[in-house]
């Protein structure tokens, strides 16, 4: 999710357990977290952040169905209507021999469709540069970020003291 031109306050944590505790603390004091970044998927954080289930797989099903139809209808039209040929003494419309290709195209359409959808939703892709919160969030640090676009000085200091209390090893206010 491209956070371009956004002012944030973020803190880095050394361990995912400390991060989880900090998220719980933020939930208790009703501070709304903008996002959490981690080098690997942290189990249970989805529930804490109240994230809804991804709908990408519904897209995958639809793309797969499009692939199935493309393969079946395409081969049926080619082999039975447009240019009928006899292969190995089988009927023109030899459905059993279409199934492997139908399977392949289903997988191909679903895979490519889901990849492209994923990139579009996340605002990523070739040639697009996304701002990075901190280089070490893809290495060994865990990050919580708060939205500071319209935050007053008071709120920003509240966020900073939250990071202090929950054991963050690095705190910064930054415009992405």
């Amino acid at each position: 999710m491209g956070y371009r031109n956004k002012k944030i306050v973020y803190g880095l944590y050394d361990d995912e357990e400390i991060l989880m505790d900090a998220v719980r603390q933020a939930n208790r004091s009703e501070m709304s977290i903008l996002d959490v970044f981690s080098p690997f998927p942290v189990h249970g954080i989805d529930d804490l952040l109240d994230l809804s289930e991804s709908r990408l797989h519904i897209g995958g099903f639809i793309y797969g169905m499009i692939g199935t139809l493309t393969a079946v209808l395409g081969m049926s039209w080619i082999h039975a209507m447009d240019w009928p040929n006899i292969f190995g003494g089988k009927p023109y419309w030899a459905i059993a021999s279409f199934i492997p290709i139908t399977f392949e195209l289903t997988v191909l359409f679903a895979a490519i469709g889901m990849t492209v959808t994923f990139y579009i939703i996340n605002g990523q892709g070739p040639g697009i540069k996304n701002p990075i919160v901190h280089p070490r969030i893809s290495d060994d640090k865990f990050c919580i970020a708060f939205d500071a676009d319209e935050a007053s000085e008071e709120e920003i200091s509240k966020y900073r003291s939250f990071f202090d209390q929950t054991g963050a090893s690095f705190i910064e206010t930054k415009k992405l």
Partner: protein, 415 residues
């Protein structure tokens, strides 16, 4: 409640199920043809099916131990108890093997000396397809399976008593499991060729053994899900949760698709190759068993594929139990379709040969063309026997292995 109590009502239920099976078998025997083919084919069908479930449980256990897997630990006693059914399975398969020597049944075409004498194909296969190998293979190979199952079980039980941080029992278990994987993989194929594939003695298919193993695997996981949900509903296995069932649901879904892949591969290669001695298998089934043939695909592929595709259907008891019941019946039907047409053919030849009756051809034959009440009754009997042995073995050890090094990983399992 770390000790399962097997008593009273549950015991009675399984005994009644077994009684239903015995009564069904008796009625089948009385109303059967001269060579009792329906009676014997029902015994073979159910023996192979439930022995296969026990064997696949052992295979899964070996795979899990070898792969350092931990998530299943909380319910691993269930698979251990399944695998101990192999002892009963050996007895059941030996009944069929003894029948070969006494010529009590005509399940296998290759056991008919007169037929072999006039048949170059059967003569060529007689080095493998003979009653000596059948009996020896059943005893020796199943003996090795029972040995592996017994060792893993006893090491697991000893670990409960005196396991410590040196994990010595787990190390020993790993050796048995690592040896068990190739042994089970190769020998189960040989047993499936003899037990199942050789009812069509002329016909062969190279991927038949995997196809059977996939069928047994789905049935095994489905039965596991039902038993786990039952145990949970009775207040046992409190640490077992949706996460474990979700993973079992994934196994059921994935192996259903694997089964379909093999089912279709076998069909398509034979259809495309179009060699008479191979296509006869599918011609027979498509001409005379058309409804069952497509019902098999419907239950075992389309139903689990569309029901279990979504995330939450693998986490809810209702959908899991619904699919599991259908899959157990579906794969039981799959074995019905593998065995019965070949056995019917052998029987008809035997009957026609002895001059007892005319060759019946493709007329409707009760117990062969469609499974009847007696077939389902026999299945219930064998299921009762399997579950009795399972719950009996389950009650003889801690329900959750308290000192297994992977227990904590399993308790905190999160998909």
């Amino acid at each position: 409640m770390n000790q399962f109590k097997f008593e009273g009502k549950l015991k009675m239920t399984f005994l009644v199920m077994m009684l239903i099976g015995v009564v069904s078998l008796a009625i089948t025997f009385i109303g059967d043809d001269a060579v009792h083919s329906r009676f014997w084919s029902n015994i073979l069908h159910n023996s192979v099916f439930f022995t296969g479930i026990a064997m696949l449980a052992l295979f899964m256990l070996c795979a899990k131990i070898t792969a350092f897997s931990g998530w299943h630990t909380v319910f691993k006693r269930v698979w251990e108890s399944y695998s101990l059914f192999l002892v009963v399975g050996l007895v059941l398969m030996l009944i069929v093997a003894v029948g070969l020597w006494g010529h009590w049944h005509h399940l296998y075409h290759w056991n008919d000396a007169e037929a072999v004498a006039n048949d170059p194909i059967l003569q060529g296969k007689s080095g493998f397809l003979n009653k000596g190998w059948y009996t020896f293979g059943t005893i020796a190979i199943m003996g090795v399976w029972i040995l592996i199952a017994g060792r893993i079980r006893s090491l697991s039980k000893q670990e409960d008593q005196s396991g410590d941080s040196s994990f010595s029992y787990h190390r020993k278990m790993r050796i048995w499991a690592a040896a068990g994987l190739p042994i089970l993989g190769f020998t189960s194929a040989a047993m499936i060729w003899q037990w199942v594939m050789s009812v069509d003695a002329h016909w062969y298919s190279t991927l038949f053994a995997w196809y059977n193993a996939a069928s047994m695997m789905v049935a095994m996981v489905a039965l596991t899900i039902i038993c786990l949900i039952y145990l949970k509903s009775k207040g046992y296995l409190t640490q077992l949760n949706q996460e474990h069932l979700h993973d079992l649901g994934k196994y059921m879904f994935a192996f259903s698709i694997f089964w379909t892949y093999l089912w279709f591969s076998q069909y398509m290669l034979i259809w495309y190759g179009n060699i008479g001695e191979e296509t006869i298998y599918f011609k027979e089934r498509l001409d005379n068993y058309r409804f069952l043939f497509f019902l098999n695909l419907g239950i075992n592929f389309f139903l689990p594929f569309f029901v279990l595709m979504r995330n939450d259907t693998k986490r809810k008891y209702g959908t899991l139990i619904f699919t599991s019941i259908f899959l157990i019946l579906g794969h039981w039907l799959d074995f019905f379709l593998m065995l019965k047409p070949g056995i019917l053919h052998t029987t008809q030849e035997a009957l026609a040969h002895s001059g007892a009756v005319e060759h019946a051809g493709h007329a409707f034959t009760a117990g062969f063309s469609l499974p009847g009440f007696l077939e389902f009754g026999t299945m219930i009997g064998f299921l009762g026997l399997f579950l009795y042995a399972f719950f009996f073995n389950l009650s003889r050890a801690n329900l959750v292995p308290t000192r297994d090094p992977y227990l904590m990983e399993s308790v905190h399992h999160h998909v």
